[in-house]
């Protein structure tokens, strides 16, 4: 008898769908018009070098402008990359505007990174600290056609 299967993320609730864009103000106005919502304020993330950001194993000082649309069952996040190498900038440069990742709230990010690596799904981009808020991207594009973000401690 097989043990009950568990999600390698500890959850099956997708909390965000994130889209990289060239101009967050222009995109925010378009989202607001289509979904009948107010245009949200965007905010700028802390510089990567202040939050221990790494991208492909190297420190990065990238930042991003973020805006959030709270849909009924999930949040749509807009990301405009600003300066420095990041998975956001790389996606925008190589594929243009589009979905960058789907996100999950997790605990034990370090353990999950290990379990995902056992499936060939490698960490590519991380910033912050689990105690105060950490995001971690793993590249599952070969396995799932997706980048997955794990959010811990927010």
């Amino acid at each position: 008898m097989s043990e009950k299967q568990e999600s390698l993320l500890g959850t099956r609730t997708i909390c965000q769908i994130a889209v990289v864009v060239h101009d967050i103000e222009k995109s925010s106005r378009a989202y607001a018009a289509v979904f009948g919502m107010d245009v949200p304020e965007w905010f700028m993330t802390d510089p990567g070098n202040e939050i221990g950001m790494t991208y492909l194993g190297k420190p990065s000082d990238a930042r991003a402008k973020l805006a959030f649309f709270h849909m009924e069952n999930i949040t749509l996040e807009l990301i405009e990359p600003v300066g420095g190498p990041s998975s956001w900038q790389e996606a925008l440069d190589t594929k243009g505007e589009g979905v960058h990742h789907i996100a999950f709230n997790v605990t034990d990010t370090a353990g999950r990174v290990k379990a995902l690596a056992d499936q060939g799904i490698e960490m590519i981009h991380q910033g912050g600290d689990p105690a105060t808020g950490q995001y971690t991207y793993v590249d599952a594009s070969k396995q799932l056609g997706l980048v997955i973000e794990m959010l811990e401690g927010y």
Copy 2:
């Protein structure tokens, strides 16, 4: 005083995130392993020419293999395009595996297609009939970085 804004889709609930893949069986096994779920049966859609499918204004006999993973708050759909021109095949050919669209359950598809066209968001791909089940894709890639699917009558 401004009127309360309405979503052009009549809803802000995203029911599906869909990913185009090369091999639905291989991808289904990978999704099942990551999310700790059973591998679902895939099924083949009816041929496009039997359900009045159009793609970029022309009839198409494209089909697709579909598989569904019911997450807690949303469904992940895998799509393997099979034969004939379609937005699924085009996305796979030009961008590789990745998110194809996000979907909404709607009423009055025809009216919504019109309202979206007023925003420059054009219908690209449609199949079926609203009475028995119809899907309609609109290309919002310039406005939202997304293709949106409207589902009616399923």
